[in-house]
């Protein structure tokens, strides 16, 4: 090869290298621009801002005069121009194209890109948009927006700048951008849906009459509604666990399971609340939060209290009157048998009312004091002996002197009345000469008092129900269960003392009622 030939070949090589270098530089810039554009797509979940970013970057990447993005309306199938970059954006945003109309419609329908160098030569071009916007479209590059579920719309760029032409390179760049853009649009839509649902839930919660408090996994409050804020007030909702709400949440955080709880805000609020804790868990059964619902039942409770208060007050006033009648009877004078019977019947009814009222009021509040158990038993036996019976009664008490003098912490009045009830029941259900044995035993931390009779005994089928308070209250009007209602009351009093009642009975032989009382000796 001659030197001139060799020089021409080397020169061509250098030119080729220079050309390739320039192409490489252009490709590098385009890649960089594409990466920058894709990075911008991740900066927002606001759909409107995201669409604007997509269009701006589309026009920049492809050096286009204008760009537009149309999304398919999932309900109607129409194409809506969501965002437009360029002079005619306000006009185009009102345009809706029927399914498959125009270049953008064809691309959305087929899911394939289109590069149209001269739109006048393509009968798919929809001219009415240009007529409306007064924009002259000469060339179009349009690519679909595709997600895993299908095509959701299309991006189109119009009129290459500097009188140039869109080429395959532009198409590839725009397609690469549209792939990322479609995913970003889907994410933004999902985020919008979640926000809408969250707002709906907040609206529902805010409109509820019950107070609602939502916490996270650490039991920090994340959401409250106006009803709960009204209950606790501004100070009560303040942070720090010495506020009322702070104390409540601190206590509930130790419960770790669904629970019901009651609140009585006595001062300064005067509010009674019936409430529920619901613990939220994930699939791994870890606590993720909690919902506390608070129901104001003050009005209901106020009515109940008035009813109970009235009943209690009336009962005690009546009892005073009955006591007066008995004292008059004791003092002598002309008391007819009929008056005596009436007074005794009244006393029985009043006793039943008292028992009913105390069971209805819930756990008893005892007036405890140190009492010698012997004295209490003697008083009960004396009261029973006052009542005359058609059948002879042999009442014996078996109790060691030491035990008789033992002081225990009891509500003496109530224990005495309990013993009287049990003794009277024994007397009531005897058909022959009555033998009643009262025996007191020392069980270290407890005192046991058993009352044994030789009466008719108790039907085994009835035995489990005898001490059931709720069963007895519901059968109160049934006179055949009158005696057993009294035993339900006996249990009520014994439970309040931390004690218990046990019944052993054989039909035709007799019944033994065993009362067990804890001692609290200082």
């Amino acid at each position: 090869m001659s030197d001139q030939h060799k020089f021409g070949t080397i020169n061509e090589a250098f030119q080729e290298i220079e050309r390739l270098s320039k192409e490489l530089e252009i490709a590098r810039k385009e890649s960089s621009a594409l990466m920058d554009a894709c990075a911008l797509l991740t900066t927002t979940l606001d759909l409107t801002k995201l669409l604007e970013i997509i269009l701006q970057q589309s026009a920049i990447l492809t050096s286009a005069e204008a760009s537009s993005l149309a999304l398919i309306d999932t309900k109607t199938g129409d194409l809506c121009f969501e965002v437009v970059v360029g002079d005619k954006k306000d006009i185009l945003k009102e345009v809706r194209l029927p399914r498959g109309t125009g270049i953008v419609g064809w691309v959305s329908e087929h899911g394939e890109p289109l590069l149209i160098e001269d739109v006048k030569k393509d009968n798919r071009f929809y001219q009415k948009v240009d007529e409306k916007s007064k924009f002259t479209t000469s060339s179009i590059l349009c690519v679909p927006l595709k997600t895993k579920d299908g095509t959701i719309g299309a991006i189109e760029v119009l009129n290459k700048l500097d009188n140039g032409k869109f080429d395959l390179n532009d198409q590839h760049l725009l397609a690469a951008l549209s792939n990322q853009a479609a995913m970003a649009i889907e994410n933004a839509r999902l985020y919008n849906n979640v926000l809408e649902e969250k707002n709906k839930i907040i609206s529902i919660v805010n409109s509820m009459g019950d107070g609602i408090i939502v916490t996270n996994d650490k039991f920090d409050v994340v959401l409250t509604n106006p009803a709960s804020e009204k209950i606790f007030g501004a100070d009560g909702m303040a942070e720090g666990n010495i506020s009322k709400l702070g104390v409540i949440i601190s206590e509930l955080s130790q419960v770790n399971s669904d629970a019901t709880f009651d609140l009585v805000l006595m001062k300064p609020e005067n509010v009674i609340l019936s409430n529920k804790l619901s613990v939220l868990r994930n699939q791994a059964n870890e606590i993720t939060g909690a919902i506390i619902s608070l129901r104001n039942i003050t009005d209901i409770k106020t009515r109940e209290n008035i009813r109970a208060q009235f009943t209690s007050t009336m009962i005690y006033y009546m009892q005073e009157q009955v006591q007066y009648i008995r004292e008059q009877m004791k003092a002598g004078g002309e008391i007819t048998g009929r008056l005596r019977n009436t007074a005794e019947l009244l006393e029985e009814k009043v006793s039943k009312l008292i028992q009913f009222s105390e069971i209805e009021s819930g756990p008893l509040r005892l007036g405890r004091g140190l009492e010698k158990i012997g004295g209490v038993i003697d008083a009960a036996c004396a009261e029973v002996s006052v009542k005359t019976s058609a059948i002879p009664i042999h009442l014996t008490v078996e109790c060691e002197d030491r035990l008789r003098e033992t002081e225990i912490e009891i509500d003496a009045d109530r224990i005495r009345s309990v013993l009287v009830l049990v003794l009277r029941n024994s007397i009531k259900f005897v058909t022959k000469e009555s033998i009643i044995k009262v025996k007191v035993s020392d069980l270290s931390d407890f005192i046991e008092i058993s009352i044994e009779d030789n009466g008719i005994g108790i039907d085994p089928a009835l035995l489990p129900k005898i001490l059931d308070k709720q069963y007895q209250i519901s059968n109160l009007l049934n006179n055949t269960t009158e005696a057993s209602f009294s035993l339900a009351y006996v249990q009520h009093v014994m439970e309040a003392h931390g004690g218990s009642v046990r019944i052993e009975s054989t039909v035709g032989v007799g019944t033994t009622i065993i009362l067990k009382l804890p001692k609290f000796i200082h």
Partner: protein
């Protein structure tokens, strides 16, 4: 918990034997707030009633159960929280109203006393688990009553002296 809060806790078995210990504990904390002698007496009375309720009615004086007492000092505000583990809810509003009407027998006025003396009162019941009594006392700014140079004033107690039963022999 803010930096200005001071928390003091005491746990005892639920018996009335510890009542003096609990009262002493709370009064010592209350002294940090510089309550007046009258206010300290009132606080002691409240703790007496509240602890007795927790140990006796709440826990049936069971040695298997505890009563937790927590005192929090923040500025001039004393928060007292007494918690028992009997899990027996009751209606304090009912007992307070009955105390107004009741002319017979002793007992039942503790809740009324607590409400009269304390500035905030709340009961919190988790059925079958616990009962928590939350009380707040704010130091009164009426200092002229405590000024020994002031004229003697009448002490108003939230109950009548006639209601106190005679001491048994």
């Amino acid at each position: 918990m803010s930096a200005t809060q001071e928390v003091h806790e005491l746990k005892v078995t639920a018996t009335l034997r510890h009542i003096e210990k609990v009262k002493e504990f709370v009064v010592e904390v209350a002294k940090k707030i510089n309550f007046s002698p009258i206010e300290l007496f009132q606080i002691e009375l409240v703790v007496d009633e509240a602890y007795a309720n927790a140990a006796d009615h709440g826990s049936e004086c069971s040695r298997d159960k505890e009563v937790h007492v927590k005192c929090i000092v923040e500025g001039e505000r004393l928060t007292i929280i007494i918690k028992d583990f009997g899990g027996k809810p009751f209606n304090p509003d009912f007992f307070e109203r009955i105390a107004d009407k009741k002319t017979w027998g002793i007992g039942g006025r503790g809740i009324k006393i607590i409400k009269e003396i304390m500035d905030e009162v709340m009961y919190f019941f988790v059925t079958g688990k616990s009962t928590t009594l939350y009380m707040v006392k704010q130091k009164s700014n009426e200092e002229e009553k405590d000024d020994p140079r002031a004229a003697p004033t009448t002490v108003h107690l939230p109950f009548s002296l006639d209601d106190i039963p005679p001491i048994p022999d």
